[in-house]
Amino acid sequence: MNEPLLILDPEAPQPPSEQIAEQLRLQIAAGHLPARADLPSVRQLARDLGIAPNTVVRAYAELERQGWIVASARRGVAVADVSAPVRQAERRREVERAVSRLMVTARRLGVGADELRAELDRQFGPGTTAGMR
């Protein structure tokens, strides 16, 4: 089944709880996790990822504080009913962050706008950047 996966990279600079929170937030913002969808229990997620349950608790607490998920003793943890504008804003913020990271890398490597456009065309298909002038 092509359901979203959470991937934890122990070598990434971000701590595990932040990796979990960020990936969950993005999956919700992108609509891959619909409102009221049951999220894995703290125990299941911690055991799958091989981390301490407290790490997952921290990530869930952060997401709950930001209004992305809701937790209840009876139903466990589920995706909150996040409004479309909030989800769009989060998607946009993430795209901006990703492009900023790309720009930093491009400047470091001395890659110009034309070369970036060519690479985008190669990866997304010819003509993708036709209107980006």
């Binding site: 359901e3 934890l8 990279d9 996790l33 049951d38 894995p40 997620l45």
Partner: protein, 312 residues
Amino acid sequence: MDPLSWLVAAETSGVAFVVLGLVGIGTGVAQRVYRDHRVFPLPALRKKLAGWTATPPDEIADLERRIQAYYRSVMVTTTMVIGLVLVLAGVTLLAVMWSGHASAVRTMPGGWVPIVVYPAILVGTGLGYPLAVRVHQRSLPAGPRYADLRRRRLADYRSPRLRWLTPVAIAVQAAAAVTLLAAGGSSIVLLMPLFSAAAYVAAELLMWMTARVPRMVVTPDPATARRCDDMIRADIIARLQGLELISVGLAGVLLEFLGGNVLRTEALPVRLASLGLLLSAAYCMFWAIGLLGLEERLGGTITGWWGRPMPE
């Protein structure tokens, strides 16, 4: 003592369980030490992986090697735990015999083998899998780990409708037991439906636990790893479902034996009870063999049904 009585005697059964259990443990240890590849032959594994669409063409050989190693680890651990459960059952039976309560365990017409061996395999399989996963997890190299973003449920691997197959047989056994008791049978006949109910609850619990066992990283690509993990998990759940039905079916046959002193009468209710018990056993065996033949695709949301396309 005639050969049949000797064969079904509690002492013989107890010793047989201990010996069988030790053979199981020994086989498991030997397979672990000598890395016997026959535990899951490559052609069968290749067919299975293709069925589960878990075969990225560029790394097929490496993937097969990894999955085979993991499968072997699961099967070897399971064999050892089954052996251990059989040894414990045998020792318990012998301990009861030698503690002066021989009459309590001798009164099992048909012997202890049918009601001990399959439940032992059921419990051993159900406990062996999480243990194998735990052992495997300790030896995992450092690297990215992955997790599902939803709660895993038993319904992912087995259709919830299949949950109702066994209670039908248990209800028939309970009705037959009450009929036999009313017709003058020993109160021991009530033990069999209770045993069936216990086997059912244990099997459902073990299947529920199996669905929740942590994911295993068997290959660097998370999507492929998840597919392979699902394949092995579904295989264990299908085995448990089959063993549940076989255990309950054999309990029906034994109940028919137990009611032997009553079943000699010509009374219609007793004859119907006998017929019901034999039919319940046949029903359980039919479903067990049928479901075990579905190659672990028991209509779960992840597995789908055998013969139909794998759910996307």
